[in-house]
């Protein structure tokens, strides 16, 4: 991996991030377009939740992450504090892995 490749990847990753804030930036946007933009992150983050849980490298798998997400969902539903949700999920996955 050359320095050129690292700098190139860094520049590309930055350009992707900065596209919205710098290109669309401070332009006054119509209200309905603002609603659309704000909404984009929701399906992407929702997808991240499921893909990070069930992705086994080009196939779907059910492993210790699945019961951990179930525990997290239960804790979110019961309005548990953020840290309790996160640590509850980690403890569940660790426990399942320890006993299987």
């Amino acid at each position: 991996m050359s320095w050129a490749a690292i700098l190139g990847l860094g520049a590309a990753a930055y350009a992707l991030k900065a596209l919205g804030p710098l290109v669309v930036g401070r332009r006054a946007l119509p209200a309905d377009l603002t609603q659309v933009l704000e909404l984009i992150a929701v399906p992407v983050l929702a997808a991240l939740i499921l893909v990070q849980t069930f992705d086994g490298g080009r196939r779907l798998v059910i492993d210790a992450r699945a019961p951990a997400l179930c525990v997290a969902a239960l804790l979110v539903w019961r309005r548990a504090p953020f840290l309790v949700v996160v640590l509850g999920a980690a403890a569940t996955a660790a426990l399942v892995r320890a006993v299987t």
Partner: protein, 224 residues
Amino acid sequence: MNSGAVRGNALAIGLATGAYGVSYGVLGVAAGLSVAKTCAMSLLVFTGASQFAVVGVVGAGGSVAAALAPALLLAARNALYGLSLVPVLRGRFASRAAQSQLIIDESTAMARAQAEPVASHRAFLLTGLSVFLFWNLGTLAGALLGGSIGDPRRLGLDAMFPAAFLALLAPQTTGPAARIAAICGALLALALVPFVPVGVPILAAGVGVVPGVRAMRRAAKAPA
């Protein structure tokens, strides 16, 4: 979420990503990158999934060109986050340019979890800076210490991230538009996992805004 809770959560998310940074640092050096290059990736690329993809491919003997494609596909979702953060990231050009480097999953999710734009901006900055600090410190520690560190999965750290995103997203996903967008995007991404290259499913989930916006328009048209 009150401001003290935001600070605490930003710190917790930073520490969790820091643990993954250690793991990335170990893998980077194991893949043959120097300590300086491993650390430069965390500073300059600063997108965990892309960095893991690069060291994964290079470590397995793949070419740099083969490593860049998945890395860019994984980084492309940050463009969607950047677009969604346009209403939140205000200020001068230089300030927006600097803050753009902090656009990642965690900072976007924390921004989304706040109801007010000012609180969103603060949550974005605190989370972005916390993750940036601990990710880079973790990388340095992992690159220097090498393989003597255990697998973070044994502690269930990998299960923390989806749980955190769920905890942040769920309370704000109340209206029909957000719910429909979230469900459509998530199911589409899951269905695509076996069939398309890594990174594409998450990107494709952005299409979920289409049924979401249609639901929004229908609700706006419906007689009160």
